[in-house]
């Protein structure tokens, strides 16, 4: 009699434990798949953002070289050198002094947002300065001078690649944002303390006629 009871209990416990294990295994599988997917997107977004930052620096550097080449009139040179220095300078603090994240760790640090906004403004200003300093007639004149060829080529390439890098970076941010809106990711807090995705909005229209 008691032996029969023991068997009955055993079966129930076994069933329960088995069920629990299956549920756990399923949950692990679902969560790890979702985490891996999100992680892949995060890594891609980080990489694309790094490429964007590099292109921003390259464009500012190319502008600076053109400004100091003596090929442009003094006023345009000053305008371009100033805009390039501004763009490079706004990007600088991020390199030297990391901003401390807020203790809850969920949102992007306020300093970083301010920094990004300042940078967006400085880069848009640089685009506007380039368009102002290189109107079609100046561009046509520069194109005809052999000593300007390398400088203009660098600038054209960096402008084109900046637009490319920005589109890739923003696309990656949008994908991350969408994935992070999914219920599973929010409930399981899969995004951890990764900063909130944020697109980089800047006017990157190159001077008309400046073709790589």
């Amino acid at each position: 009699m008691s032996g029969g009871w023991a068997v009955l209990v055993d079966v129930r416990v076994l069933l329960l434990v088995g069920l629990l294990l299956v549920v756990l295994a399923l949950a692990t599988l679902v969560l790890s798949t979702a985490a891996r997917r999100l992680d892949r997107l995060h890594r891609r977004a980080d990489g694309a953002r790094a490429a964007l930052v590099e292109q921003l620096v390259r464009r500012a550097a190319a502008t600076d070289r053109l400004a100091r080449s003596g090929l442009l009139d003094p006023a345009a040179s000053v305008l371009l050198a100033g805009a390039a220095a501004e763009a490079l300078g706004v990007g600088e603090p991020a390199r030297t002094a990391p901003v401390v994240p807020p203790p809850d760790g969920t949102a992007e640090p306020a300093g970083a947002v301010r920094l990004a906004q300042g940078r967006e403004r400085a880069e848009s200003d640089l685009s506007a300065a380039l368009r102002a300093a290189l109107p079609p007639e100046v561009l046509a004149d520069l194109t005809s001078r052999p000593e300007a060829e390398g400088l203009l080529g660098d600038l054209a390439t960096s402008c084109h690649r900046l637009a490319l890098a920005r589109r890739l970076a923003n696309d990656a941010q949008v994908q991350v944002a969408r994935r992070r809106r999914s219920r599973l990711v929010r409930w399981a807090h899969l995004a951890g303390r990764a900063p909130a995705p944020r697109t980089f909005e800047v006017d990157d229209e190159p001077p008309p006629g400046l073709l790589p």
Partner: protein
């Protein structure tokens, strides 16, 4: 750079994407890159002068997205794709039409290298696409860069998948078209005969719009007795059989033509007519016609308007309007100076689509992608700066706990501070 290019459609039948893959591979190789091609098919097609494709064998003809496509899928194709990827050790894998159930999708899911994809088609939202979305999304999320062949194809990508895409247009070998010799039997006005029009594209596919051209025939023939229409493209021409006998006599069906014949045809005729009624995302043939020096008359689809610069490079007529087509052709044939002016403008404009330009734009995309990948790789080994993403990755994927929760100021700042830490 080692680049692997994946074609989704069988090279046993000619097609736009297949030719695009061939020319892309050829151009990338000319730029000094190491290029390999993977494609469905049984034997290397004639005229394939780019890097020889690795063929995965017979493709299956299946209805997909409104037409019949020859695709490769299944365990064998998957295994071959994986083997090809493993042997190639590519820096970048470039797949075409990643949303079609073929090698592109398989390569996308199996590749370790960053994957770039080109979306060729501008599609209307279809039920099949919507149903496939949840299945495709995890794969499409792996793409490091999406390329659309036109603003219209880009809009399709944005609407269907969200996010954004960069635009790199289809390429054309401009020199091959510009240097094509005309054939006297296809010439009209220039040989002192009544004008000759030409139409390219599948005859029995309604969206190609042959019916619109046929509808314009009575008026065109009334204005130009003896006018001929050369129709090049596959299909049995069932739609043409309903034509009145006299109109039908003006139509000459050439059937499928080789690339060389296509170039000669475009170089010979007086007008190239593109009466398509939809489904076009770019209009390579328009560029080819312009490169060969044929005046273009096209329906005012958004993609065509863009290629023709809103009528500066060729004449436009309302989509599906046979009378408008007849008027436009009439105007092109009558206004010789205007047509000549357009032809000259078109010859300059098509240089933008030459493979030498397009190839470099593709390389710029690859390099931008690799720049990002390199930046992440530079940072990963730094012990005091855990990979950004999620804590779960460290715990679940790697099985270790993150060592600290310190974070940088945002994606870009963290990258750079991390990069400095790693190199110190």
């Amino acid at each position: 750079m080692r680049i692997g290019v994946v074609c989704p459609y069988s090279v046993d039948v000619p097609g736009g994407v297949q030719l695009h893959v061939r020319d892309q591979a050829r151009e990338l190789r000319a730029l000094g890159h190491d290029v390999a091609v993977l494609a469905p098919g049984e034997e290397r097609p004639a005229g394939w002068d780019g890097p020889a494709p690795e063929l995965v064998g017979r493709a299956v003809a299946v209805p997909f997205n409104g037409s019949v496509a020859r695709l490769s899928f299944g365990p064998v194709a998957n295994a071959r794709t994986r083997r090809w990827l493993g042997a190639g050790r590519f820096d970048v894998v470039h797949v075409h039409e990643p949303a079609s159930p073929s090698l592109g999708l398989l390569a996308l899911l199996a590749a370790d290298a960053p994957v770039v994809a080109t979306f060729h088609s501008a599609l209307d939202r279809s039920r099949a696409m919507l149903a496939a979305q949840p299945l495709l999304r995890p794969g499409l999320e792996r793409l490091s860069a999406r390329i659309a062949v036109s603003e219209d194809a880009r809009r399709t990508v944005v609407e269907h998948l969200g996010g954004d895409a960069v635009v790199v247009p289809n390429g054309v070998r401009v020199a091959d078209y510009a240097g094509a010799a005309p054939r006297p039997r296809w010439q009209g006005l220039r040989a002192g005969r009544p004008p000759v029009l030409c139409f390219l594209g599948r005859v029995d596919e309604p969206r190609k719009g042959l019916a619109v051209l046929a509808g314009a025939l009575p008026r065109l023939r009334a204005q130009h007795p003896g006018l001929r229409v050369l129709v090049a493209g596959t299909g049995d021409g069932a739609g043409l059989r309903d034509l009145p006998r006299r109109d039908a006599a003006a139509v000459e069906v050439l059937g499928a033509v080789s690339e060389q014949d296509k170039r000669a045809l475009l170089a010979s005729v007086d007008v190239y007519v593109a009466p398509q009624t939809g489904g076009e995302s770019f209009g390579v043939v328009l560029v080819e016609a312009m490169a060969a020096g044929a005046p273009v008359v096209a329906s005012a689809l958004p993609a065509f308007r863009r290629v023709l610069d809103d009528g500066r490079l060729g004449a436009l007529f309302p989509v599906g309007d046979a009378a408008g087509l007849a008027d436009a052709v009439q105007a092109v044939l009558a206004d010789t100076p205007g047509t000549e002016r357009r032809r000259r403008a078109a010859t300059t404009a098509v240089r933008r689509y030459d493979w030498s330009v397009v190839g470099r734009e593709l390389v710029a995309v690859y390099e931008t992608v690799l720049q990002g990948v390199g930046a992440v790789a530079l940072v990963a080994p730094a012990p005091d700066d855990p990979p950004p993403s999620s804590r779960w990755r460290a715990r679940l994927v790697r099985g270790t706990r993150p060592t600290s929760a310190r974070r940088g100021p945002g994606a870009s700042g963290r990258r750079r501070s991390g990069g400095a830490g790693g190199s110190r």
